[in-house]
């Protein structure tokens, strides 16, 4: 195996000792002192969400003419502006949009968009237009951000993902991060289980922890060993999760994941970057039912999340960014589905969002790019805006060249508490 940069993991707490499992890491954690950090929650809509049926350009006659079976009936569209309406499944987000906490950016893409799920996903996650899939070890845009601005003193939960794959977006040189495959993964396995009838339980745990404190000579073994230490650290930190929510989330994977995010935020364990992926947006056929379910899940879960973190007094610390690797073709494909397309839309939710209006303009359906929505906004402008206005950091070292600030976030008001410098 080739050892790559991200395999070199630094664990902030230093050497591991037997006391780790019962030790109190938080008292030694400077991130907790002085208030909670600003967190970014990234929601990946895997498969290519059909943006045109999400934020609908309902006044454009082309929309209706090329989507005879997929166009949403005019009476059902939630008309939040005089030119764009929400998919009916997004009902719970309408008050958040009108209340100025939710917005979206249309026509996002990049010059070399090629309709490949995997390459486009890697481009969005790295912010780099590589010719093919990202080689193993390529850092993500948030990984580079973390290396520059969060690296020293990071813990196993500084970055956290609920994803079937370890997201490229979080790959960093300095932070191992914690990935779980579903919201219940840590819930059922939050400790090192040893047969309760084993009289050697404590002796066993001590020996195992001792072994994970012993250095290895190969880089791969060192990677395994340090991730093991991170696992023991995460076990300790996750014992401190905030209480369950008082309000009801949808009982979906996304609903449970977002409740976990709220509890992580409430725990104040120094988590700064969270990545959640939701599969199923690749709607080549029978799109309406699939997309309605997915968008309904997103809207219901986000509304519950926003209410929960507001109740917990944490809403000023959280920003949600939703994105998808591409939009879909303007015309439907004949089986109530859509093919891979080009530009799509991202959305944002949070107290600091300047919502109630949208960004990126109208999809230009009369000048299609080979049948697809043409790109008008480079998606890296979204990242630029977030790093500049949410994290209040210089985006240039992360993104290598300047992009436009799209203005969808309020500039800092009052004291902003950032994660370690």
């Amino acid at each position: 195996m080739q050892i790559t940069r991200r395999d070199f993991v630094r664990i902030g707490a230093g050497g591991i000792t037997v006391s780790l499992l019962c030790g109190d890491l938080l008292k030694a954690d400077p991130a907790v002192e002085g208030g909670p950090p600003r967190m970014l929650v990234v929601l990946q809509m895997t498969g290519g969400n059909d943006a045109l049926n999400t934020f609908i350009p309902y006044t454009d006659s082309i929309y209706r003419s090329v989507r005879p079976t997929l166009a949403i009936a005019d009476k059902d569209i939630l008309k939040v502006s005089d030119r764009i309406g929400f998919n009916p499944a997004l009902g719970p987000l309408v008050p958040l949009y009108q209340g100025g906490k939710f917005t979206f950016v249309n026509n996002c893409g990049f010059p070399s968009l090629d309709r490949s799920h995997f390459r486009c996903r890697d481009v969005w996650q790295t912010g780099i237009e590589l010719p093919g899939p990202a080689p193993r070890g390529t850092r993500g845009w948030l990984g580079r951000y973390a290396d520059l601005y969060l690296g020293e003193g990071a813990t196993a939960v500084t970055t956290f993902a609920v994803d079937g794959r370890a997201p490229v977006g979080l790959v960093s040189d300095s932070i191992a991060g914690t990935t779980i495959t579903g919201p219940d993964a840590f819930a059922t396995s939050t400790d090192l289980v040893v047969d309760p009838d084993d009289p050697d339980r404590d002796r066993y745990k001590s020996a195992l922890l001792e072994i994970y404190g012993q250095q290895r000579s190969s880089t791969t073994l060192e990677l395994v060993r340090t991730r093991g230490i991170a696992a023991f650290q995460a076990v300790d930190l996750f014992k401190r999760l905030g209480p369950q929510s008082l309000n009801a989330y949808p009982t979906t994977s996304l609903g449970k994941s977002l409740e976990l995010v709220a509890r992580i935020a409430a725990a104040g364990i120094g988590t700064a970057l969270i990545w959640i992926s939701l599969e199923g947006f690749d709607t080549h056929g029978l799109q309406p039912q699939t997309q309605t379910n997915l968008l309904g899940d997103i809207a219901g879960s986000l509304a519950a999340f926003q209410q929960d973190i507001t109740t917990r007094g944490l809403s000023r610390n959280l920003l949600v960014l939703g994105w998808s690797e591409f939009g879909r073709r303007i015309a439907e494909n004949g089986f109530r589905g859509t093919e891979h397309g080009k530009a799509g839309s991202v959305f944002l939710l949070g107290d600091n969002v300047k919502g109630g209006v949208y960004y990126g303009g109208q999809p230009d359906l009369s000048h299609p790019d080979d049948g697809d929505v043409p790109t008008q906004i480079d998606f890296r402008s979204v990242y630029w805006t977030i790093i500049q206005d949410w994290f209040q950091r210089d985006p240039l070292p992360v993104l290598s060249k300047p992009y436009e600030n799209l203005g969808f976030l309020q500039h800092a008001s009052g004291r902003v508490r950032l994660v370690r410098h």
Binding site: M1, P133, A166, T179, T181, A185, L192, L221, A234, F335
Partner: protein
């Protein structure tokens, strides 16, 4: 370093090609020699697998369309854990990843079981035949929406992944080739009542198409033939199979050498695998103990090497939490693999599966026939039978201190097995 065939290299071959060997298997392999062992693994049809068939029959699995994913996953796992033809199952697992279909979309256990049967039947045959059989397979046709693709309303999902993932890879084709492949496959569909392939001639596009520079009235079998004759395709398959058995990120020269062997043998996977398993690279320091076990590797190898009589009931849940649910990878590109299997959450998960495995484990059967005169001998035997594993002196000292001196109780022997399964070293293979 010159190649030496001994217990260590034989165990390496068995870990990579056969889900790990028992002491008896390694001893036999050392005696037979490398090439004879590789041939025996490859020519698996000469090895009867009656005990596996009987074991599976005795389970009375219900694997009709409305069966459960847990049962289907267990059905596949039992194959990997208890087969006498481990290389066939190794390759079935590779193709299961390469031709990923998702239960969460297909929702038909019968189709997914049939697809797994296709992968097993063609595991070491000609790739072109495997590709053709998979393109006609119900689960794949449904998963990538091929069944609905017609000449008037083509669906690009299958044709695009055929080019990008299954045969050529990005950079070896252009968008016009995708469109041509899509049209060539129009009319390939599903006969739902019988769950078989249906060629819907009325919906097939018979017109001239240009695919990868060749023009003709191509249908699906033509584009498969053309794609599978490309050197770029051969490089893709050679690189994938080589990485699976030997080491990740092979050198371009190595890829090209095995790609030529693959094409010279008309896409014969057995010829490719034989060349890899008998190459110097396979037994080099770049290969030995450099790959990360996937959750399936971990569970299957522990079951085989610890001589368990049955699978551990928590295995399926462990695989779900570890991110390797059989028949339900994250998407059509399969599992990410490599060091991504070692996230903190996944590692804890492995340590906890090791607890269930240790409870089911019989230390007396495991050490039967070994000469053990003290705790040190015992640790040596365990490390040898589960490796041979090389561990740091400090770790060896911790194991000794855990095991203690004098007679080692059964429960502490189980603890030793469990601890070895939790070592950083055992997560590699």
């Amino acid at each position: 370093m010159a190649f030496v065939w001994n217990e260590e290299t034989a165990a390496h071959l068995y870990r990579r090609a056969a889900f790990g060997g028992t002491s008896d298997e390694i001893r036999r392999a050392v005696t037979e020699g490398r090439d004879a062992t590789v041939d025996r693994l490859l020519l698996y049809t000469y090895t009867p697998d009656d005990a596996l068939d009987a074991r599976i029959a005795a389970q009375h699995f219900y694997l009709a369309s409305d069966g459960t994913l847990a049962d289907l996953a267990r059905w596949f796992l039992l194959h990997m854990m208890f087969t006498q033809r481990p290389l066939q199952e190794r390759m079935t697992l590779l193709w299961h990843d390469h031709f990923a279909t998702l239960y969460s979309k297909v929702l038909n256990i019968f189709w997914l079981k049939n697809e797994n049967g296709v992968l097993r039947a063609y595991a070491l045959g000609k790739f072109r035949d495997l590709m053709t059989a998979i393109a006609k397979d119900n689960a794949m046709e449904y998963f990538l929406d091929q069944w609905m693709s017609t000449r008037t309303q083509p669906n690009e999902n299958f044709g695009r992944e055929f080019c990008e993932l299954f045969t050529l890879g990005l950079g070896n084709y252009v968008e016009a080739d995708v469109k041509a492949a899509v049209m060539a496959f129009t009319g390939w569909s599903i006969e739902g009542t019988l769950s078989t392939f249906l060629f819907n001639a009325d919906q097939h596009d018979y017109s001239q198409k240009t695919f990868l520079g060749q023009t003709g009235p191509w249908d699906g079998e033509d584009v498969i033939r053309i794609a599978c004759s490309q050197f770029g395709h051969a490089q893709r398959i050679a690189s994938k199979v080589f990485s699976y058995f030997a080491y990740d990120n092979p050198e371009q020269e190595v890829i090209d050498r095995f790609a030529r062997i693959y094409l010279d043998h008309d896409t014969d996977v057995a010829a490719l695998v034989r060349a890899i398993l008998t190459s110097d690279e396979m037994y080099s320091s770049k290969a030995l103990w450099t790959k990360v076990k996937s959750p399936i590797d971990h569970a299957v190898m522990a079951t085989r090497q610890l001589l368990l009589h049955d699978d551990v009931s928590s295995t399926f849940q462990y695989l779900v939490q570890g991110g390797q649910t059989p028949f339900d990878p994250p998407d059509v590109s399969g599992w990410q693999g490599g060091t991504n299997w070692i996230s903190p959450g996944a590692l804890l998960n492995r340590m906890n599966l090791a607890d269930s495995i240790a409870r089911a484990f019989d230390p007396l059967a495991f050490t039967d026939g070994e000469s053990i005169h003290g705790a040190d001998d015992l640790i040596d035997v365990y490390l040898r039978k589960l490796g041979p594993l090389a561990i740091p002196a400090a770790t060896r000292a911790t194991l000794s201190s855990y095991v203690g001196s004098g007679t080692v109780s059964i429960s502490r022997q189980k603890g030793l097995a469990r601890m070895i399964l939790s070592l950083p070293e055992w997560q590699l293979y």
